[in-house]
Symmetry: C5
């Protein structure tokens, strides 16, 4: 999985029937110092994530292992909202202190 | 998924029988500011996308989760046409205002 | 899928029994202007492609969706020979005009 | 598989039900000279790895081939702790000599 | 598949039970001119490859299509030892002439 921040969303009406009603999130990938990278992914939301949330997303066939995305043409899913992130003995991110 | 623009198409008669009648689109990948990247993918069209359309494509085994691509030797599928794209509180793209 | 040119072949006698009799092609990846990139892939031939052909190859589990590669330890397959390639309203490549 | 060092961990309460109770490790990828790269992955721990351990992780559908990760939305798993690493006739890493 | 040279091996006792008795090889990836790249992969040996051998490896779910790696948390497998490699009409590599 990679860490990303939700920075936007997409609307698409002309789409494969397997993706009706799925929320499509624009996720900017973060590096291991929690800085934004010049990389993004469009992922289906499986956990009710919102704008500004720091999240984890899974890709490939693993992105289809949630109830919402099973057998869908979806190769990326937001499957967790990060609460806290500790690294090298210090705190990189704490959701509730933002 | 990634965002791309349809910039062309390919014709191939000598191909695996699993891909008869599939439309092969040349898709130029766009970055998160909707600028073209020096990267492309050839994807099967599953939604009737046309030249100039901004689309979403899925890769890997997820590209085989549409009726059209199930069990086919296809690793990329256009599965949505983007209508609108909002980011950081502003509108990056609106199909009908183009 | 990506576009590539067949530039060579490999012979391997000490190999997994799932790959007996498969032709192994050296494919140089091309960019979206039909220029060779500094990138290659070794792919199993599923369509009778030959040296100099411009082809499409599929990767990952999708590379196992041909009769020849089903259940084989093969992560790339040549599944089409390109006849013509149109882009931005002009012709990038035409097999029979070469 | 790639080699990585465990440098941190994440906590997420709002997550897909398939990932309850899984330990999420921040793994910094190492190159073939055992130097840290500017690349990381968040992986589920399947072997009881701890901070500072040099480990192997597997990605994609292969990350779901452990008892702990089967059918879960998980695309990376730590599946081995490295004891020793020999290369070009010399020892690159020995766990117990650290 | 990609071409690589076997440059080392790893030992890991604390690992997922699916990988008991598997030989873990350090493979340095080669480019299409048979020069080493700054890239490696740790792969399970399925063909009895040894140090210095030029090999092919497959990744992803295709790495689990050998008897040895079926259903294992393994995302890379050495599935062939290269005997000879011809390109653009000349010989790039010949095992027995080394």
């Amino acid at each position: 999985m990679q860490i990303a921040k939700i920075i936007g969303s997409l609307v698409a009406t002309q789409k494969d029937e397997g993706l009706r009603d799925h929320k499509l999130l624009v996720c900017q990938v973060h590096n291991h110092e929690n800085k934004p990278k010049d990389q993004y992914v469009i992922a289906v939301d499986a956990v009710g994530a919102g704008p500004g949330d720091l999240v984890l997303y899974a890709t490939g066939s693993s992105a289809r292992q949630t109830n919402l995305t099973k057998d869908r043409p979806c190769d990326a899913v937001v499957m967790a909202v990060v609460d806290s992130w500790d690294q090298d003995g210090s705190n990189v991110y704490e959701k509730w202190s933002e």
